[in-house]
C-alpha cells in the first residue's frame, strides 16, 4: 500500500521544510492488514501533526480517516500513535519531533474504525461504570447552603484528575490493556480516584466495590506509561496507587 505523494507547494513559504508523513491505512471492512501511505508535506515550526494530516486530506487523499474537533487539546478526539508514542495530533508540533519522517498510526488497545479513527465505546463504558459524578443523599436544592464548600486543600486532593479529557492516550499506552481486554483501564481508575477523593462525594464504597474486581485496580502493574503520555498533566498511575491505599485501609 506504500505510496509517495508530494503536496502542492503553492502555499509554502521560504521558511518551510519538508517531512515524510507516513499514515497508517486500514479499513476493517475490506482490508486484511494495515499498510502505510507516504506523503511529502511542507511544514513551519508551528505546524501540528493534525494540520499536516488535514493538509494531506485537503490536497491529496481526502479518504484518510481521522477524528478531530477542537484543535486545541480540549476535546480529546485526535489521539493517535505519533512516531511510536501516543499523543494528541493537535498538540504535537512536527518541529518538536526532530525527525524527517513522521509516522502516524491508530491508538493501540482500541478497535479501529478506519485508518486513524478508533472506537471509544469501551472507554466511555468503563468511564460510566465507575459513576463519574458526585453521589450524595442530599442535593444543592434541598440543602440550606447554596453550595458545597471546599477548602483549597480539599480541592487539591483531586483537581488534577478533573483535567482528564477522555482522549484515551493512557489506555493506549497501558501494557495491561494490551493483554487484558477486560481491564478497567487507567482512565476509569483515575476518574474513580477523582470522585473518591472529592470531599463532597459520599459514593466511595460503591465505587471501590466496582473496581475491586479480578480485572479491576489490582491488575495495574504500575508501569507508569499512562502518566507519561497524558497531554493534560494528569497522573493516573499516582491516582491508582492512592486508590489502592483506600482498598488496603491506609487511607479513609
Amino acid at each position: 500500500m506504500a505510496q509517495v505523494s508530494s503536496i502542492s507547494n503553492e502555499q509554502t513559504s521560504p521558511t518551510s521544510k519538508l517531512i515524510t508523513l507516513r499514515i497508517s491505512r486500514f479499513n476493517p471492512e475490506h482490508d486484511e492488514s494495515s499498510g502505510f501511505m507516504e506523503f511529502s508535506v511542507s511544514y513551519e515550526k508551528w505546524t501540528t501533526v493534525l494540520e499536516a494530516i488535514l493538509d494531506v486530506k485537503k490536497h491529496h487523499d481526502h479518504s484518510v480517516g481521522v477524528r478531530y474537533s477542537c484543535r486545541q487539546a480540549t476535546c480529546g478526539s485526535c489521539g493517535m500513535i505519533i512516531n511510536g508514542k501516543p499523543r494528541l495530533a493537535c498538540f504535537t508540533k512536527i518541529s518538536e519531533l526532530n525527525s524527517d519522517v513522521v509516522t502516524v498510526e491508530p491508538m493501540n488497545n482500541f478497535p479501529i474504525i478506519r485508518d486513524l479513527a478508533v472506537k471509544f465505546e469501551k472507554l466511555f463504558d468503563t468511564h460510566q461504570k465507575i459513576k463519574p459524578y458526585l453521589i450524595r443523599d442530599d442535593t444543592e436544592i434541598e440543602s440550606n447552603e447554596k453550595e458545597f464548600l471546599q477548602s483549597p486543600e480539599e480541592v487539591e486532593q483531586y483537581i488534577q484528575f478533573a483535567n482528564c479529557i477522555k482522549c484515551g492516550l493512557c489506555n493506549s499506552a497501558c501494557p495491561t490493556m494490551a493483554t487484558d481486554s477486560s481491564f478497567v483501564g487507567p482512565q476509569a481508575l483515575a476518574q474513580a480516584y477523582r470522585y473518591v477523593a472529592d470531599s463532597r462525594d459520599k459514593g466511595k464504597d460503591s465505587r471501590l466495590k466496582i473496581i475491586d474486581d479480578s480485572h479491576g485496580i489490582w491488575r495495574c502493574h504500575f508501569a507508569g506509561s499512562c502518566s507519561q503520555v497524558c497531554p493534560k498533566g494528569v497522573d493516573p498511575a499516582m491516582g491508582i496507587q492512592l486508590l489502592r491505599g483506600y482498598m488496603l485501609g491506609f487511607r479513609s
Partner: protein, 114 residues
Amino acid sequence: MRESTIMKIHYGTALAAVALVAVHILMRLTQGFAESLEYENVLANYKFIPYAAMLELILILLSVHGFNGLRVILLELKQGRIYEKAVSYGCLAAMIGLIAYGSRTIIMTNMGMV
C-alpha cells in the same frame, strides 16, 4: 472472595515468606552448605519440631503466594468466563495439592516413617 482480600493475602504471604526464608537461610549458615544437605542432617531438621513447623509455614506461604501469582498472570493472558473459572479453581487445586504433598513429606519424616 473479593479481589482486595485475595491481594491482601498475596502481599501478606510475600512479606511473611521473605522473613521466614531469611530465618531459614540463617539457620542453614550455622553449618557448612554441603554438610547441611547430608541425609542425616536433613532428617534431623524435619525431626526438630519448631524448624519443621517453620518449613511447613514457608511451604504454605509460598504456595499461596505463588499460585495466586500464577492465577493473576493467566487471567491477564486470556479472558472468558469459563477460562477464568478454570484458572481460579485449577490454581486453588494445585495449591492445595502442593501443600498436601509437602506436608505429607514433613509429617512422615518427623514421625520417623522415612
